[in-house]
């Protein structure tokens, strides 16, 4: 900012601090609650500073069982979530890269029709086609499997569209130079197209990983075996205890653990993410 007014600096900092407080307070409370015994939260007062049961709760939740009727340890569910999220992310990126490549760089009959058909699938997210999709997966015998968890979520019109835009902005002379240099379609794809869309891929990776990680409805439907439960859907199951008190400390620990991987991805790829969305190297 060019202006230098002390009160303005003060006001903007104060606003930011209040904002941080508002956003971070629930996270803080979750962290604190996970370190108190289960009874503390149920007794009606909300502790604001760490208790002494932290180590035990976290250890139990992570490695023995999540509690509240969920007998699988969190690290196992985390692994399931990770496999699903990464499967969806890589599957989506690979498929949409290839379909965008075909649509932009090859001349074949009904090319535009293909694009519009892909584009129209935007109107058919999993929630809309959930019953038929479930039937297909069930008929294929893919219930309770990683394939069943990831496959129906892989097809992606959004990513195809994004890569199409990215490829369209590629200068035509670059394609021609590669042709004269003797690069066939695969060489061109791997040597030139892929490196040049690096930042777009990274940006998409962040968005799709979070999308995959946060999947709730689909895993809830097709998994009935504890071994395939994902973390996000299990939190809800932990809340529905039929008798007895809810062990809030365990739930809080699980929730925080569920938050960590997306946060790590966002922080780790922040620079590439912004670069991919705002600028292009071309």
């Amino acid at each position: 900012m060019i202006e230098n007014r002390p009160w303005l600096t003060f006001a903007s900092h104060a606003t930011l601090l209040v904002g941080i407080g508002l956003v971070a307070l629930p996270v803080w409370m979750a962290l604190v609650a996970s370190t108190h015994p289960a009874s503390a939260f149920g007794a009606g007062h909300i502790p604001l500073w760490f208790g002494d049961a932290g180590g035990q709760t976290w250890g139990n939740v992570l490695f023995e069982k999540a509690g509240n009727g969920v007998d699988t340890p969190v690290f196992w569910m985390m692994l399931n979530s990770l496999i699903m999220a990464l499967g969806i992310t890589f599957g989506k990126i690979a498929i949409s890269l290839l379909s965008a490549y075909a649509i932009v760089f090859f001349r074949f009959p009904f090319r535009n029709l293909c694009f519009w058909i892909i584009f129209m699938t935007l109107m058919l997210p999993v929630e809309v086609r959930i019953v038929p999709t479930y039937e297909v997966i069930a008929n294929l015998g893919l219930l309770n499997s990683y394939t069943g968890l990831t496959l129906p979520l892989i097809a992606s019109a959004t990513a195809t569209f994004l890569f199409r835009q990215c490829f369209l902005s590629m200068p035509g002379e670059l394609v021609e130079a590669a042709r004269i240099d003797g690069a066939g379609p695969w060489r061109f794809f791997f040597d030139i197209l892929l490196p040049l869309s690096r930042t777009n891929i990274a940006a998409l990776f962040v968005i799709l990983f979070i999308y995959g990680w946060n999947q709730y409805l689909w895993p809830l439907l097709i998994t009935t075996d504890d071994a395939y439960y994902t973390l996000v859907m299990s939190i809800k199951r932990m809340l529905s205890v039929t008798d007895g008190d809810i062990a809030w400390n365990q739930i809080m620990a699980t929730t925080l653990l569920a938050m960590l991987p997306p946060v790590a991805v966002v922080i780790g790829m922040q620079k590439l993410f912004v670069k991919g969305l705002v600028d292009s190297e071309k």
Binding site: A178, R179, G182, D191
Partner: protein, 354 residues
Amino acid sequence: MTDVILEKVGKTYLNGFQAIPSVDLSIEEGEFIVLVGPSGCGKSTLLRMVAGLESISSGTLRIRGEHMNNKEPAERDIAMVFQNYALYPHMTVYNNMAYGLKNRGVPKDQIEEKVTDVAQMLGLTELLQRKPGQLSGGQRQRVAMGRAMVRDPTVFLFDEPLSNLDAKLRVQMRVEIRQLQRKLGTTTLYVTHDQVEAMTLADRLVVLNKGKAEQIGTPMELYNTPATPFVAAFIGSPSMNLIDATLTDKGIELPDGLVLPTDTADAHRGAVVWGIRPEHLDVVNESEADFALRIQAVESLGAETLIHGVVGTESVVVRLSGPHLPEINSLMWLHAPKQHWHLFDANTQQRLSV
């Protein structure tokens, strides 16, 4: 040996638009051919057809005697320098130059040798590990040329390679391109819209107009004996004064009743276009003058002065060496020496003997 032969090569687009009706051209080994013309005349299309980036609708293209119409660009033994250089932005200068060789399966040590040689020739040795984004316009231009040179092709194709450089660099690169081409002796096809570039670089020029080759010849042939009014106006700067006139037994009758007596051997009578270059008009006394110019504007360029004015109602430019400061609206008496006249049939656009 003839390196490249174009026989009745034509291009018609799918929508029926005929960009190039038919062009015949044969290029000798080591020759520097420049395709020149105004924008939209089809010069780039013709070049891209030789490169294989556009399909050839009719006629045949031969390179070293081999029929090339349906060959992929990579199989034609050509290398191209693009207007925007088209360097791969994510690769270093070294890899940019080596990429074409790698794809052809040339062994690594040979690639290194070739790239190092060419880099040295172009003064790029220090820059080999940089990326194109870190280079200046002139350096990028050199890398683009280097990429073409390492391949050691039969034909170099240049598509307006200097149009993105500033004026000073353009002159420098122009000289460099000419020297390099002489040294390498590689047949070259070069597209430009800039007639100065065309005149200075070419062994032979092809002037294109609406997809037709108006005239093919050395720069001096085109300057001294342009075949059509189009070529006459296009070659030379400022361009030739062309006046619609009538050829009668008395001589050339200009529209304002002025008559330039001539005893032309040509039997043609009727509408003609009479032309004379601005540098060939002489300032003389009233008694020796063919006509008077009413001065409208003076452009002093130091070494020369361009005087714009009207003869009757026709605008005429005179080019005089050294500084002159005639008054606006005054009269200037001019003599047009007969050996510098150009005469064209107004209907057929063909050159007539004076």
